[in-house]
Point group: C2
Chain length 221, copies 2
């Protein structure tokens, strides 16, 4: 009989966070107490300590996120993988909703007609449906989705409660994040540089959901 190490999910998470904190401390990295629960979760989801130094928060971004989630805000994601990774039962517990329009038939058709990306048009559709105001917008893949949010803020005066801007990649990604941080009038969490992605985006939202619902950091999703 093959036996393998079994630890309670809580035990695994506790030991993981102890390891992360020990290694951050050994690297002389001190995280502010409000942003630490978010950044530690990002490292937990990637085993990549770069996120300790490249993750930027606008002043009050964590509190803005907790407040919006506690009020049952809409959460709009650029891709379905992120929607799927977010803890839906904690969202519902707060009366919130989850949306992603990237695979919507209308979005597909408009993308084929206009040459815009489906991700950007998915964000536009969320705006058309009146979902963006006071929402949390999560961009983990498409820089064009982040550019579209800038456009909607500038031209339509829409104001999400928080924008999580962590697209990943090599083309237009760095530019989209820099443009966003320069022009935005709403709270934001951004990973500077090329790194980011779906797993990172999900880690941020689920960490905020833990804080909003008073769930211990070591509780599994």
């Amino acid at each position: 009989m093959f036996d393998y190490p079994t630890l309670s999910p809580q035990g695994i998470t506790e030991q993981s966070f102890e390891t992360i904190r020990r290694e951050l401390s050994a690297a002389n990295i001190i995280l502010p107490s409000d942003t630490a629960p978010i950044v530690e979760r990002m490292i937990h989801s990637t085993a990549d300590f770069d996120f300790a130094t490249i993750t930027r928060f606008s002043t009050g971004a964590v509190q803005a996120g907790i407040h919006a989630l506690g009020n049952g805000c809409a959460i709009i994601t650029d891709v379905n993988m992120i929607r799927m990774g977010i803890n839906a039962s904690r969202v519902q517990q707060q009366g919130g909703t989850l949306h992603c329009f990237v695979a919507d038939d209308d979005v597909r058709q408009r993308a084929a007609e206009t040459g815009h990306t489906r991700s950007a048009l998915g964000i536009r559709m969320a705006w058309e449906q009146g979902l963006l105001q006071d929402s949390i917008v999560v961009v983990g893949n498409a820089p064009t989705a982040l550019f579209e949010i800038i456009r909607l803020m500038l031209e339509k005066e829409v104001r999400p409660a928080l924008v999580i801007g962590v697209p990943v990649g090599f083309i237009n990604v760095v530019e989209s994040k820099e443009a966003f941080m320069k022009t935005t009038v709403v709270p934001w969490i951004v990973t500077q540089g090329r790194k980011g992605g779906s797993a990172v985006a999900v880690a941020i939202v689920n960490a905020l959901l833990r804080l909003a619902t008073g769930t211990r950091a070591t509780e599994t999703d």
Copy 2:
């Protein structure tokens, strides 16, 4: 009117891969031609060049994956986020199927009763349903899911066509991968060390699907 850079999705992908190849070359990293399309996609999804050096393939693993996908094999994932990220229309095109049992009611109940992880019990349920033989099993999160595959290979003589073992994290993750590479009797793709995750797992499967369906590497999902 706010204008932002628009490039065709193909154009973005082409430029991204040019950048990745240029930087690999500058770092004197030469990828074998059979595994390069997989590793380049992993870097594309993470902007993390570590995957060029930590990704290990058993001999013939890429061909085994292409062959299984071309035969319309079942794909079993440890978490739903990975199932959601895999290009379902390319899977269906080959007559294949996608499965994840982690959120199954039966699995939840057994986990509560036994203290095993839901991820490991999800893999066990796939075996009970006769899905594991000749399948592709994708583990992007839970080391216990990888340990469960070892157990099923040893005790039940089940033989997946390919195991993608890329769990991420700090506790039991490295150990699960080392144990798997030592004991396995089936083809595998593994990221050595702590790194891996859902986005990495999805990148590997979608790269194999591109090869199996004769889709150009720069075509978007």
